[in-house]
Symmetry: C2
Subunit: 120 residues, 2 copies
Amino acid sequence: MNNAIDLHQKLALIADHWHPRVIAELNDIQFKVVKFEGDFVWHKHDDTDEAFLVIQGEMIVEFRDRVVRVGEGQLFVVPKGIEHITRAERECHALIIEPRGVVNTGEAGGELTAPLDDWI
Amino acid sequence: MNNAIDLHQKLALIADHWHPRVIAELNDIQFKVVKFEGDFVWHKHDDTDEAFLVIQGEMIVEFRDRVVRVGEGQLFVVPKGIEHITRAERECHALIIEPRGVVNTGEAGGELTAPLDDWI
């Protein structure tokens, strides 16, 4: 059985951006920590919602028709099937909660696609 | 579509203990905020893991054979089917992540059993 997992300690191990690392699982759900800055890519996840909890900084989730700012200590759930892009003006640290097997770039692919099941 | 959900703002609306309130859903998973202090009851959840992220304070998860302390900014997943009791020496604020329909007291029941799907 695992011990308690410190989010800041895990985040301190990460030096790159847009590369989520798994830190825990709940049934088929994974908890991943990630750091990012700048613009991601437009994409969607047809089979699942995707939750972000901002640990440090602020992230922007842009949809085709609106923009949501998610600040420190705030939770936001991106609904499945909806195109979106994530951004951060300064480095942002977040916890992602989503099912095992979700590719970060969805159907879009490209160079920001991160490996699955990369534990830290 | 929802906006970002501020955990501290939601917690500020809660005056009672051991009564989780739903703030968001990810597929069939619910995010619930809760305040508690003192001892809960021994129980287990046979069908699901249960995750706690401590937002403020410290919680203790006691098993029959060990004790885990979960501090602020730490995540802990209680494995399914394992008897446990949660405690806090001082008021603790936490985010619970678990499937829709999980009864807080598991199979134990009793007066601390909270209603399901109580949104805040």
